[in-house]
Symmetry: C3
Subunit: 108 residues, 3 copies
Protein backbone atom coordinates (compact mmCIF):
# COMPACT_ATOMS: atom_id res chain seq x y z
CA UNK A 1 0.00 0.00 0.00
CA UNK A 2 2.85 2.36 0.71
CA UNK A 3 4.24 1.72 -2.76
CA UNK A 4 1.93 3.32 -5.25
CA UNK A 5 4.23 3.32 -8.24
CA UNK A 6 3.03 5.81 -10.82
CA UNK A 7 4.27 4.90 -14.27
CA UNK A 8 3.85 7.11 -17.31
CA UNK A 9 2.37 5.43 -20.34
CA UNK A 10 0.69 6.44 -23.55
CA UNK A 11 -2.99 5.74 -23.89
CA UNK A 12 -4.15 4.80 -27.36
CA UNK A 13 -7.84 5.23 -28.08
CA UNK A 14 -8.39 3.41 -31.35
CA UNK A 15 -11.77 4.18 -32.94
CA UNK A 16 -12.80 2.12 -35.95
CA UNK A 17 -15.63 0.13 -37.46
CA UNK A 18 -16.63 -2.82 -35.32
CA UNK A 19 -16.15 -5.23 -38.22
CA UNK A 20 -12.42 -4.54 -37.99
CA UNK A 21 -12.03 -5.50 -34.35
CA UNK A 22 -10.04 -8.67 -35.03
CA UNK A 23 -7.63 -6.80 -37.28
CA UNK A 24 -6.97 -4.25 -34.56
CA UNK A 25 -6.63 -6.66 -31.66
CA UNK A 26 -4.37 -8.94 -33.73
CA UNK A 27 -2.15 -5.94 -34.45
CA UNK A 28 -2.04 -5.07 -30.75
CA UNK A 29 -1.33 -8.68 -29.79
CA UNK A 30 1.55 -8.90 -32.24
CA UNK A 31 2.89 -5.59 -30.88
CA UNK A 32 3.07 -7.15 -27.44
CA UNK A 33 0.21 -5.17 -25.91
CA UNK A 34 -0.85 -7.06 -22.81
CA UNK A 35 -4.31 -5.69 -22.26
CA UNK A 36 -6.98 -3.54 -23.76
CA UNK A 37 -10.58 -2.58 -23.19
CA UNK A 38 -13.23 -2.42 -25.89
CA UNK A 39 -16.16 -0.01 -25.94
CA UNK A 40 -18.91 -1.34 -28.19
CA UNK A 41 -21.86 0.12 -30.07
CA UNK A 42 -20.59 3.65 -30.50
CA UNK A 43 -22.04 6.10 -32.95
CA UNK A 44 -19.98 8.60 -34.81
CA UNK A 45 -19.78 11.21 -37.44
CA UNK A 46 -16.71 11.48 -39.59
CA UNK A 47 -15.76 12.19 -43.12
CA UNK A 48 -17.58 9.04 -44.26
CA UNK A 49 -20.91 10.22 -42.88
CA UNK A 50 -22.85 9.34 -39.78
CA UNK A 51 -22.57 5.86 -38.26
CA UNK A 52 -25.47 5.00 -36.02
CA UNK A 53 -24.85 2.70 -33.07
CA UNK A 54 -27.42 0.00 -32.58
CA UNK A 55 -27.40 -3.43 -31.05
CA UNK A 56 -29.76 -5.60 -33.00
CA UNK A 57 -28.88 -5.47 -36.65
CA UNK A 58 -26.06 -4.39 -38.85
CA UNK A 59 -23.45 -4.83 -36.18
CA UNK A 60 -20.98 -4.13 -38.96
CA UNK A 61 -22.03 -0.50 -39.00
CA UNK A 62 -21.25 0.30 -35.42
CA UNK A 63 -18.01 1.76 -34.22
CA UNK A 64 -15.86 0.48 -31.40
CA UNK A 65 -13.11 2.06 -29.37
CA UNK A 66 -10.20 -0.07 -28.23
CA UNK A 67 -8.23 1.46 -25.38
CA UNK A 68 -4.70 0.29 -24.66
CA UNK A 69 -1.95 1.65 -22.44
CA UNK A 70 1.51 1.16 -23.91
CA UNK A 71 5.07 2.27 -23.25
CA UNK A 72 6.01 5.32 -25.30
CA UNK A 73 8.63 3.38 -27.24
CA UNK A 74 5.90 1.19 -28.74
CA UNK A 75 3.66 3.99 -29.98
CA UNK A 76 5.34 4.59 -33.31
CA UNK A 77 5.35 0.94 -34.34
CA UNK A 78 1.70 0.50 -33.43
CA UNK A 79 0.62 3.66 -35.24
CA UNK A 80 2.68 2.73 -38.27
CA UNK A 81 0.88 -0.59 -38.25
CA UNK A 82 -2.49 1.14 -38.28
CA UNK A 83 -1.58 3.78 -40.89
CA UNK A 84 -2.47 1.76 -44.02
CA UNK A 85 -5.78 0.80 -42.43
CA UNK A 86 -6.76 4.39 -41.73
CA UNK A 87 -5.83 5.42 -45.24
CA UNK A 88 -8.69 3.19 -46.38
CA UNK A 89 -11.20 3.34 -43.53
CA UNK A 90 -12.76 5.95 -41.30
CA UNK A 91 -11.74 6.27 -37.70
CA UNK A 92 -8.95 7.77 -35.70
CA UNK A 93 -6.41 7.05 -32.98
CA UNK A 94 -6.10 9.47 -30.06
CA UNK A 95 -2.78 9.44 -28.20
CA UNK A 96 -2.54 10.88 -24.70
CA UNK A 97 -0.43 10.78 -21.56
CA UNK A 98 -1.62 8.72 -18.64
CA UNK A 99 -0.24 7.24 -15.50
CA UNK A 100 -1.05 3.86 -14.09
CA UNK A 101 -0.16 2.34 -10.77
CA UNK A 102 0.43 -1.18 -12.05
CA UNK A 103 3.06 -1.10 -14.77
CA UNK A 104 3.56 -4.85 -14.80
CA UNK A 105 0.48 -5.41 -16.89
CA UNK A 106 1.67 -3.21 -19.73
CA UNK A 107 5.35 -3.93 -20.20
CA UNK A 108 7.23 -7.03 -21.29
Amino acid sequence: MKNLNFSPLKKLEIILGGEHQAFATDLLDRAGVKGYTIFNNLSGKGRHGFHEGHLMFNEDDVLIMIVAAVPEKRVNDILTGFAPFYNEHSGVVFISDIQVTRLVKFSD
Copy 2:
Protein backbone atom coordinates in the same frame (compact mmCIF):
# COMPACT_ATOMS: atom_id res chain seq x y z
CA MET B 1 4.27 5.39 -43.59
CA LYS B 2 7.40 7.37 -42.96
CA ASN B 3 5.28 10.46 -42.34
CA LEU B 4 3.45 9.92 -39.08
CA ASN B 5 2.47 13.51 -38.40
CA PHE B 6 1.58 13.97 -34.77
CA SER B 7 -0.70 16.94 -34.30
CA PRO B 8 -1.67 18.31 -30.92
CA LEU B 9 -5.39 18.81 -30.40
CA LYS B 10 -7.78 19.24 -27.54
CA LYS B 11 -10.13 16.39 -26.76
CA LEU B 12 -13.55 17.42 -25.53
CA GLU B 13 -15.52 14.79 -23.65
CA ILE B 14 -19.03 16.19 -23.45
CA ILE B 15 -21.25 14.32 -20.99
CA LEU B 16 -24.94 15.19 -20.96
CA GLY B 17 -28.42 13.69 -20.98
CA GLY B 18 -29.09 11.66 -24.10
CA GLU B 19 -32.22 13.71 -24.87
CA HIS B 20 -29.92 16.66 -25.60
CA GLN B 21 -27.81 14.90 -28.23
CA ALA B 22 -29.15 16.94 -31.16
CA PHE B 23 -28.47 20.20 -29.34
CA ALA B 24 -24.88 19.19 -28.73
CA THR B 25 -24.13 17.83 -32.17
CA ASP B 26 -25.76 20.87 -33.80
CA LEU B 27 -23.52 23.09 -31.73
CA LEU B 28 -20.46 21.08 -32.77
CA ASP B 29 -21.52 21.10 -36.41
CA ARG B 30 -21.95 24.88 -36.36
CA ALA B 31 -18.53 25.20 -34.71
CA GLY B 32 -17.01 23.39 -37.67
CA VAL B 33 -16.17 20.17 -35.84
CA LYS B 34 -15.64 17.53 -38.52
CA GLY B 35 -16.10 14.39 -36.51
CA TYR B 36 -17.16 13.03 -33.18
CA THR B 37 -17.90 9.75 -31.50
CA ILE B 38 -20.90 9.11 -29.26
CA PHE B 39 -20.94 6.72 -26.30
CA ASN B 40 -24.50 5.74 -25.46
CA ASN B 41 -26.31 4.38 -22.43
CA LEU B 42 -24.02 5.68 -19.74
CA SER B 43 -24.97 5.85 -16.10
CA GLY B 44 -23.86 8.62 -13.85
CA LYS B 45 -24.07 10.27 -10.54
CA GLY B 46 -23.98 14.02 -10.31
CA ARG B 47 -25.51 16.78 -8.37
CA HIS B 48 -28.92 15.93 -9.84
CA GLY B 49 -28.85 12.40 -8.44
CA PHE B 50 -28.15 9.05 -9.98
CA HIS B 51 -28.98 8.42 -13.63
CA GLU B 52 -29.31 4.77 -14.44
CA GLY B 53 -28.36 3.62 -17.91
CA HIS B 54 -30.77 1.23 -19.53
CA LEU B 55 -31.71 0.39 -23.05
CA MET B 56 -35.36 -0.43 -23.08
CA PHE B 57 -37.31 2.38 -21.50
CA ASN B 58 -36.84 5.98 -20.58
CA GLU B 59 -34.07 6.57 -23.06
CA ASP B 60 -34.40 10.19 -22.02
CA ASP B 61 -32.81 9.35 -18.69
CA VAL B 62 -29.57 7.94 -19.98
CA LEU B 63 -26.40 9.90 -20.39
CA ILE B 64 -24.21 10.07 -23.44
CA MET B 65 -20.65 11.19 -23.97
CA ILE B 66 -19.74 12.93 -27.20
CA VAL B 67 -16.00 12.94 -27.90
CA ALA B 68 -14.53 15.42 -30.33
CA ALA B 69 -10.97 16.43 -31.13
CA VAL B 70 -10.63 20.11 -31.97
CA PRO B 71 -7.88 22.67 -32.52
CA GLU B 72 -7.11 24.60 -29.36
CA LYS B 73 -8.31 27.88 -30.88
CA ARG B 74 -11.84 26.47 -31.10
CA VAL B 75 -12.13 25.33 -27.49
CA ASN B 76 -13.26 28.61 -25.99
CA ASP B 77 -16.02 29.20 -28.51
CA ILE B 78 -17.36 25.69 -28.13
CA LEU B 79 -17.31 25.82 -24.34
CA THR B 80 -18.91 29.24 -24.35
CA GLY B 81 -21.64 27.76 -26.51
CA PHE B 82 -22.24 24.98 -23.98
CA ALA B 83 -22.10 27.22 -20.89
CA PRO B 84 -25.78 28.27 -20.81
CA PHE B 85 -26.81 24.63 -21.27
CA TYR B 86 -24.73 23.44 -18.33
CA ASN B 87 -26.11 26.21 -16.15
CA GLU B 88 -29.47 24.48 -16.54
CA HIS B 89 -28.64 20.80 -16.91
CA SER B 90 -26.38 18.25 -15.30
CA GLY B 91 -23.29 17.04 -17.06
CA VAL B 92 -19.76 18.20 -17.65
CA VAL B 93 -17.14 18.75 -20.32
CA PHE B 94 -13.65 17.35 -19.80
CA ILE B 95 -10.86 19.02 -21.78
CA SER B 96 -7.55 17.23 -22.29
CA ASP B 97 -4.50 17.20 -24.53
CA ILE B 98 -4.23 14.55 -27.20
CA GLN B 99 -2.29 13.92 -30.33
CA VAL B 100 -3.62 12.44 -33.52
CA THR B 101 -1.82 11.29 -36.61
CA ARG B 102 -4.41 12.48 -39.11
CA LEU B 103 -5.00 16.18 -38.62
CA VAL B 104 -6.86 16.60 -41.89
CA LYS B 105 -10.07 15.22 -40.38
CA PHE B 106 -10.22 17.82 -37.64
CA SER B 107 -9.20 21.13 -39.22
CA ASP B 108 -10.85 23.34 -41.82
Copy 3:
Protein backbone atom coordinates in the same frame (compact mmCIF):
# COMPACT_ATOMS: atom_id res chain seq x y z
CA MET C 1 -20.31 33.60 -20.07
CA LYS C 2 -17.27 35.79 -19.87
CA ASN C 3 -16.04 33.70 -16.96
CA LEU C 4 -15.01 30.34 -18.31
CA ASN C 5 -12.98 29.16 -15.37
CA PHE C 6 -10.69 26.34 -16.38
CA SER C 7 -9.77 24.21 -13.42
CA PRO C 8 -7.17 21.46 -13.55
CA LEU C 9 -8.27 18.12 -12.17
CA LYS C 10 -7.19 14.53 -12.40
CA LYS C 11 -9.38 12.16 -14.34
CA LEU C 12 -9.57 8.64 -12.97
CA GLU C 13 -10.70 5.95 -15.39
CA ILE C 14 -11.41 2.94 -13.20
CA ILE C 15 -11.84 -0.28 -15.18
CA LEU C 16 -13.05 -3.33 -13.30
CA GLY C 17 -15.54 -6.19 -13.40
CA GLY C 18 -19.12 -4.97 -13.42
CA GLU C 19 -19.95 -7.10 -10.39
CA HIS C 20 -17.70 -4.82 -8.34
CA GLN C 21 -19.49 -1.58 -9.23
CA ALA C 22 -20.96 -1.02 -5.77
CA PHE C 23 -17.57 -1.51 -4.14
CA ALA C 24 -16.04 1.10 -6.40
CA THR C 25 -18.80 3.69 -6.16
CA ASP C 26 -18.96 3.26 -2.37
CA LEU C 27 -15.23 3.93 -2.21
CA LEU C 28 -15.64 7.04 -4.37
CA ASP C 29 -18.59 8.24 -2.31
CA ARG C 30 -16.65 7.85 0.91
CA ALA C 31 -13.73 9.73 -0.67
CA GLY C 32 -16.05 12.68 -1.27
CA VAL C 33 -16.23 12.31 -5.05
CA LYS C 34 -19.28 14.29 -6.15
CA GLY C 35 -19.90 12.80 -9.55
CA TYR C 36 -18.92 10.00 -11.87
CA THR C 37 -19.99 8.44 -15.11
CA ILE C 38 -20.22 4.70 -15.73
CA PHE C 39 -19.59 3.00 -19.06
CA ASN C 40 -21.24 -0.42 -19.13
CA ASN C 41 -20.80 -3.63 -21.07
CA LEU C 42 -17.17 -3.26 -22.01
CA SER C 43 -15.05 -6.10 -23.26
CA GLY C 44 -11.44 -6.50 -22.40
CA LYS C 45 -8.33 -8.56 -22.54
CA GLY C 46 -6.02 -8.61 -19.59
CA ARG C 47 -3.87 -11.00 -17.69
CA HIS C 48 -6.95 -12.94 -16.63
CA GLY C 49 -7.95 -13.64 -20.23
CA PHE C 50 -10.59 -12.18 -22.49
CA HIS C 51 -13.81 -10.82 -21.03
CA GLU C 52 -16.61 -10.59 -23.56
CA GLY C 53 -19.15 -7.81 -23.17
CA HIS C 54 -22.74 -8.89 -23.57
CA LEU C 55 -26.03 -7.73 -22.23
CA MET C 56 -28.20 -10.73 -21.74
CA PHE C 57 -26.40 -13.22 -19.57
CA ASN C 58 -23.49 -13.36 -17.25
CA GLU C 59 -23.56 -9.70 -16.43
CA ASP C 60 -20.89 -10.59 -13.91
CA ASP C 61 -18.42 -11.10 -16.72
CA VAL C 62 -18.64 -7.70 -18.29
CA LEU C 63 -16.33 -4.87 -17.47
CA ILE C 64 -17.29 -1.33 -16.59
CA MET C 65 -15.35 1.90 -16.55
CA ILE C 66 -16.13 4.49 -13.91
CA VAL C 67 -14.84 7.96 -14.78
CA ALA C 68 -14.41 10.55 -12.07
CA ALA C 69 -12.72 13.94 -12.00
CA VAL C 70 -11.05 14.68 -8.69
CA PRO C 71 -8.69 17.25 -7.20
CA GLU C 72 -5.09 16.10 -7.34
CA LYS C 73 -4.83 15.97 -3.55
CA ARG C 74 -7.43 13.20 -3.47
CA VAL C 75 -5.76 10.92 -5.99
CA ASN C 76 -3.42 9.12 -3.63
CA ASP C 77 -6.09 8.27 -1.09
CA ILE C 78 -8.45 6.95 -3.73
CA LEU C 79 -5.77 4.86 -5.40
CA THR C 80 -4.60 3.53 -2.06
CA GLY C 81 -8.18 2.51 -1.42
CA PHE C 82 -8.31 0.58 -4.68
CA ALA C 83 -4.88 -1.04 -4.33
CA PRO C 84 -5.95 -4.12 -2.33
CA PHE C 85 -8.80 -4.71 -4.77
CA TYR C 86 -6.51 -4.68 -7.80
CA ASN C 87 -4.11 -7.04 -6.09
CA GLU C 88 -6.92 -9.60 -6.25
CA HIS C 89 -8.86 -8.69 -9.38
CA SER C 90 -8.17 -7.74 -12.96
CA GLY C 91 -8.58 -4.19 -14.13
CA VAL C 92 -6.67 -0.96 -14.03
CA VAL C 93 -6.94 2.71 -13.16
CA PHE C 94 -5.75 5.30 -15.69
CA ILE C 95 -4.84 8.72 -14.28
CA SER C 96 -4.66 11.74 -16.57
CA ASP C 97 -4.78 15.52 -16.54
CA ILE C 98 -7.96 17.25 -17.55
CA GLN C 99 -9.53 20.63 -17.23
CA VAL C 100 -13.14 21.35 -16.54
CA THR C 101 -15.05 24.59 -16.62
CA ARG C 102 -17.30 23.89 -13.66
CA LEU C 103 -15.13 23.17 -10.63
CA VAL C 104 -18.00 23.46 -8.17
CA LYS C 105 -19.24 19.97 -8.98
CA PHE C 106 -15.98 18.30 -8.06
CA SER C 107 -14.74 20.05 -4.96
CA ASP C 108 -16.03 20.18 -1.42
